[in-house]
């Protein structure tokens, strides 16, 4: 079912993460955790998958001795998201 949809994006948590990144320049990990209400470990796993596919960039910095992980979408990720939305439109008949 829905085999034309990119399986990397077509998952509830990964889609939420990538949609947030499409809507902004960069987003901190903790904000994704607050918005999705998912466990940090689960988010980390999904981020790793998206990062390995080259869809997102992860930048780790330190602010006042606390780690800060910033995420942003890559051009490849943006293209994949656009393709996903276009496929989605076919199913919904928009």
């Amino acid at each position: 079912m829905y085999k034309d949809l990119d399986p990397l994006i077509h998952s509830q948590l990964r889609l939420a993460i990538i949609s947030m990144l499409v809507a902004s320049e960069k987003v901190e990990f903790s904000h994704i955790k607050e918005e999705t209400k998912a466990a940090a470990g689960n988010i980390s796993i999904q981020i790793k998958k998206l990062q390995n596919a080259g869809y997102i960039k992860v930048k780790k910095t330190f602010k006042n001795n606390y780690p800060k992980t910033m995420l942003s979408i890559t051009d490849k990720g943006m293209t994949a998201f656009e393709a996903y939305v276009n496929e989605l439109r076919k199913y919904i008949d928009l």
């Binding site: 079912m1 829905y2 949809l5 077509h10 998952s11 509830q12 948590l13 889609l15 939420a16 949609s19 947030m20 499409v22 809507a23 902004s24 320049e25 960069k26 987003v27 901190e28 903790s30 904000h31 918005e35 999705t36 209400k37 998912a38 689960n42 602010k63 006042n64 939305v85 989605l88 199913y91 919904i92």
Partner: protein, 205 residues
């Protein structure tokens, strides 16, 4: 949250929820406008006072023919206030950056626009000194371009009107004498930065 078999409708809901949750932080953006609003208003009115003092009989006798000294006082006043502004901005930016979790596209565009505007202010200031032109009309014009464009980016009408007022004040400066130009600049900053800044601070996101 980890469902794999989403229906297209569910996917669309996730996307639209994520996108609509991102809005520009008006309160945060207003801080920079208010900072420069107050700094430049104080600089304009102190400039007016300096010009009034320099034009007094006693000061005139002391500085007569010494236009470079008068110019130095005026330029020095603007430079001192600008340096104070940049120092406060540096620490303000650091604090905002520390607490910030989301950087929206719009905020980045507006920041880039003002970086270019700041460079333009500096270059225009140097050009005006070199060419012997009074800087305020050009400075207000640049402020008008950046403020109107920022207002159009974030779709905030008071800022668009404030930006347009800079254009009107820019033209007005060409009709008055030097000391009153400082008052017009002060009025322009109040209309173009301070009023939109306070309205932005109280606006709903």
């Amino acid at each position: 949250m980890g469902k794999q078999n989403l229906t297209p409708e569910e996917s669309l809901n996730i996307i639209s929820k994520a996108i609509t949750n991102f809005k520009i932080n008006y309160k945060e953006s207003s801080k920079v406008f208010l900072l420069w609003g107050w700094i430049l208003t104080l600089a304009s009115f102190s400039n007016f006072i300096i010009l009034k003092i320099l034009k007094s009989k006693e000061a005139y006798e002391l500085t007569v023919g010494n236009w470079e000294l008068m110019g130095l006082f005026i330029i020095g006043n603007w430079v001192v206030f600008s340096i104070i502004g940049f120092i406060i901005l540096f620490f303000m930016d650091r604090k905002i950056d520390k607490d910030k979790k989301v950087y929206s596209h719009l905020e980045t565009y507006v920041k880039k626009l003002w970086t270019v505007a700041a460079a333009s202010f500096f270059i225009a200031f140097l050009l005006c000194i070199k060419l012997g032109i009074t800087p305020p009309p050009i400075m207000l014009l640049i402020a008008g371009i950046a403020t109107t464009t920022s207002g159009l980016f974030i779709n905030f009408r008071p800022m668009i009107i404030g930006g347009i007022s800079f254009f009107i004040f820019s033209i007005a400066t060409t009709f008055v004498s030097n000391e009153y130009i400082a008052l017009i600049v002060g009025a322009a900053i109040i209309c173009g930065y301070l009023i939109p800044g306070y309205l932005l601070k109280s606006a709903k996101e």
